[in-house]
């Protein structure tokens, strides 16, 4: 199966860089995918098990060969165990990110991380209040120290449940308690997944999956939510602002520093260092007119949301950015960073700088990041980029023209303020049918889907049908590249949504942040449900991850569905080898948590599924519905 370049991405800037890659003989993720085809059937179905050394075992999905592993595990057990491990890995990634944010917060409160300070006091005080920390008569740093201590306890909590999860609407919380899936300590849930999937422990598919839901919840209402809260306190709660996206944001005349990965802790400092007069002067000495910090993936989203720093692209554009030949430094932290960047950056002048104590890659310049010297290290990194500018090879530079403007920064606080301080106007619009429902569209790029096609097509279908879309992660970047994050994009929306967007001056697609910021979507859903006096599962809302690929997305799926939101997946999860697990995820969960998954690779049909679901929920609430 040989794909033509125009079949690989809907984005013309990306296509241009794929042509350049071909001319220069550069290998990209698309080439490596072709070499993997056809992919292993056992793996796609989730029926191989490597959990003990009596194996590896696999089940014959067509029923002729082995129907059990050596230990006697059936396809149901193997598929469920594998899925649980995916959830555990995803929850671990989000929650470990959160832990680092809290540790930075703690050091800041102790005066050991001088580069950081409290940017959002109001949020600090309101969260401290939630955690039962009295603020009267205390300095902000004292409150912060107590809050950091309380937050850290959430990770290693040995008894009781997560405090953050209490933010869920009453009926939802009650349901979790009844099902025994109210999340406990964040680390505990992840550890328990690994224990349960060890040889000879949990061997009941349903029982295993319930732990999957609980672990997901410990991510969404725990790790991810804590990450969002703490990052808002440290770096500011996002407010609407404008910026630009796509490969065209790279500059011909400036030093291009790309921040790629998932955490804002270092990138915040890099954004600051790029404005340092000393470094700006050095940049000029080296022949550049300035320093251009731009993002990829969620590190990019974090700085975009808070500073309007431009975004170079989505997950699948990370190699294409290097191929422009105009990147002085690709600075990475953790998650979704392709190890292939090592070899690729070696073919250009780009310095590949790895910074996380946890994550190194082939052929990197190692500049390990520590909070106590945050700003100094950020300056060293920017300096390395500046000093690399003269090495740029002019014949190899080709920056695509394409860049789009976008409006971002829709935190829950910003949305409520746009609505005049309460969710009521939105609820009224939903009741009147002007806004037919809410669609949460999130997730990665996946090489199995034409780049951004799933994202953009689905979102356009939703807004056309008056569904207000909230987005995070790579979906948000994809929408931005397609011009959907502009108030002008309201022209593409149905009449009802168009009127609402124009009245409020907002785009029909609201960028709510990075992938940990899906916690913001949970909170806005809770606010709507509470105001209506219903559960989240009663809302005319649906979610989708049209191009998901990472384990984090599996954890997100687990908590979004457990929170009561119907979710359509655009790529097939590795579970179809078990009919029982497939039925549980796509049907039976409905009677357990009031929501389930669907798998639909065609974005038009996926939109139909979401619209159908929204209609049913509208009908149940006694609102106007189409069918």
């Amino acid at each position: 199966m040989k794909q033509e370049i125009h079949e690989k991405s809907i984005d013309t800037a990306s296509q241009a860089m794929l042509w350049k890659a071909r001319e220069e003989g550069m290998e990209t993720v698309w080439d490596r995918y072709e070499k993997q085809l056809p992919q292993c059937g056992f793996g796609q179905l989730g029926v191989c098990c490597r959990n003990c050394n009596m194996g590896p075992c696999r089940i014959d999905p067509f029923g002729e060969g082995a129907d059990k592993g050596v230990c006697g595990a059936t396809a149901d057990i193997i598929v469920a165990r594998n899925l649980l491990r995916m959830i555990a890995a995803g929850a671990a990634a989000h929650s470990d990110h959160a832990r680092d944010a809290v540790l930075t917060f703690k050091k800041m409160s102790e005066g050991k991380a001088g580069s950081y300070k409290i940017k959002d006091e109001t949020k600090l005080l309101s969260i401290a209040l939630e955690y039962g920390i009295p603020a009267e008569g205390k300095r902000c740093e004292e409150v912060a120290a107590e809050l950091a201590h309380a937050l850290l306890l959430e990770f290693g909590k040995q008894d009781g449940n997560l405090l953050c999860a209490k933010r869920a609407p009453g009926p939802r919380l009650k349901l979790w308690t009844e099902l025994g899936i109210e999340p406990r300590g964040i680390d505990r849930e992840i550890v328990e997944c690994m224990h349960r999937t060890h040889m000879g422990v949990d061997n009941n598919a349903t029982h295993i999956l319930l732990q999957g839901l609980r672990t997901g919840l410990s991510d969404g209402w725990g790790g991810s939510m804590i990450a969002t809260d703490v990052q808002d306190i440290l770096f500011g709660t996002p407010q609407p602002r404008r910026s630009t996206v796509n490969l065209g944001v790279l500059s011909r005349e400036k030093i291009n520093v790309i921040v790629h990965g998932h955490e804002p802790i270092l990138s915040e400092m890099i954004v600051e260092a790029a404005e340092d007069p000393e470094l700006l002067k050095l940049a000029q000495e080296k022949g550049a007119i300035g320093i251009n910090v731009a993002g990829i993936c969620c590190t990019g989203n974090e700085t975009l949301m808070r500073h309007g720093t431009p975004i170079v692209g989505t997950f699948l554009q990370q190699e294409l950015a290097v191929i422009t030949g105009a990147v002085e430094a690709m600075v990475v932290d953790v998650q979704c960073i392709m190890p292939s960047l090592g070899e690729l950056t070696g073919c250009y002048h780009t310095k590949f700088i790895s910074t996380s104590p946890k994550a190194d890659f082939p052929n990197t310049l190692r500049m390990e990041f520590h909070e106590d010297r945050a700003y100094e290290i950020a300056k060293e990194i920017v300096r390395a980029a500046i000093e690399n500018f003269p090495n740029r090879i002019p014949e190899k530079v080709n920056i695509p023209e394409e860049k789009r403007e976008c409006m971002v920064g829709f935190s829950v606080e910003a949305i409520l303020s746009a609505l005049g301080g309460s969710p009521d106007p939105l609820i009224e619009a939903i009741k009147s049918g002007a806004v037919w429902g809410i669609g949460a569209v999130v997730g990665c790029n996946n090489i199995k889907v034409m780049h951004n096609y799933g994202h953009v097509t689905l979102v356009k279908e939703l807004i056309k049908n008056n569904v207000l879309v909230v987005t995070t992660g790579c979906n948000a970047i994809a929408c931005a590249e397609a011009g959907l994050l502009l108030p002008e994009a309201a022209e593409l929306a149905g009449d009802g949504l168009k009127t609402v967007c124009k009245a409020l001056g907002i785009p029909p697609v609201l960028h709510m942040g990075s992938c940990v910021d899906i916690s913001r979507i949970l909170l806005i859903s809770s606010a709507l449900a509470n105001r209506l006096g219903v559960d989240i599962s009663d809302l005319p809302a649906a979610a989708a991850a049209p191009e998901w690929m990472s384990e984090k997305a599996v954890s997100i799926g687990a908590y979004v569905v457990s929170s009561g939101v119907f979710t359509v997946l655009g790529t097939v999860p590795p579970v179809l080898g078990s009919q029982a697990v497939t039925a549980l995820l796509t049907k039976d969960l409905n009677s357990v948590v009031g929501a389930s998954f669907a798998v639909e690779p065609d974005p038009f049909k996926a939109a139909d599924l979401m619209l159908e679901h929204i209609d049913e929920k509208r009908k149940a609430l006694g609102l106007e519905s189409r069918r």
Binding site: C40, G41, F42, D60, F62, E64, L576
Partner: protein, 169 residues
């Protein structure tokens, strides 16, 4: 004539060829949909463990018309149905002489491997009943008519199966 050739030294026993074969012979030709078909799609290739040389190899029989293996078999352990051209193997008559393998494009490489390894404890019984199972089920390797490459060859991650001119060997 092109045929599927087996390169046993490359086989890691992953059984990807089996799945690809079953999918290629299903109604829908799609992994995920094929699982729901009834009757289940039957594969024409089987990865079998050979205890003698301690290797796994994919075994598949094309049940050739005018099958050379049948004509060279000195003990008539191999026989062919004159109408369906389906071949059966009678292990009781088989004396492990490997003569058949020297004329079968699919088995010749295994034969050569066995020669190199000097593992004479194993034999044509190495088809592990695959040929007879296919005969009973009335199925045979059809080289995936209509496909550019047989599905098993396409699926093999280590190129233990190749599709090539037999005369080139």
């Amino acid at each position: 004539m092109k045929d599927v050739m087996i390169r046993p030294e490359r086989c890691l026993g992953c059984q990807s060829c089996e799945i690809a074969c079953a999918v290629a012979h299903s109604k829908s030709k799609n992994l995920f949909s094929a699982l729901e078909e009834n009757p289940a799609s039957k594969r024409r290739i089987s990865v079998e463990y050979l205890p003698g040389p301690e290797i796994s190899i994919p075994i598949t029989c094309h049940h050739c018309e005018d099958a050379p293996c049948v004509s060279v078999c000195p003990t008539k352990a191999l026989s062919q149905d004159s109408i369906t051209s389906i071949i059966t193997h009678n292990p009781e008559r088989c004396v492990d002489c490997w003569t058949c393998s020297t004329v079968c494009s699919r088995f010749v490489s295994l034969y050569q491997l066995i020669l190199v390894m000097g593992c004479w404890t194993s034999s044509m019984n190495h088809n592990r009943g695959v040929i007879n199972r296919q005969a009973e089920a009335g199925i045979k390797c059809d080289l995936c008519e209509g496909r550019y490459l047989p599905a098993c060859v396409e699926a093999c991650p280590t190129h233990a199966l190749i599709f090539t001119e037999v005369n080139d060997i």
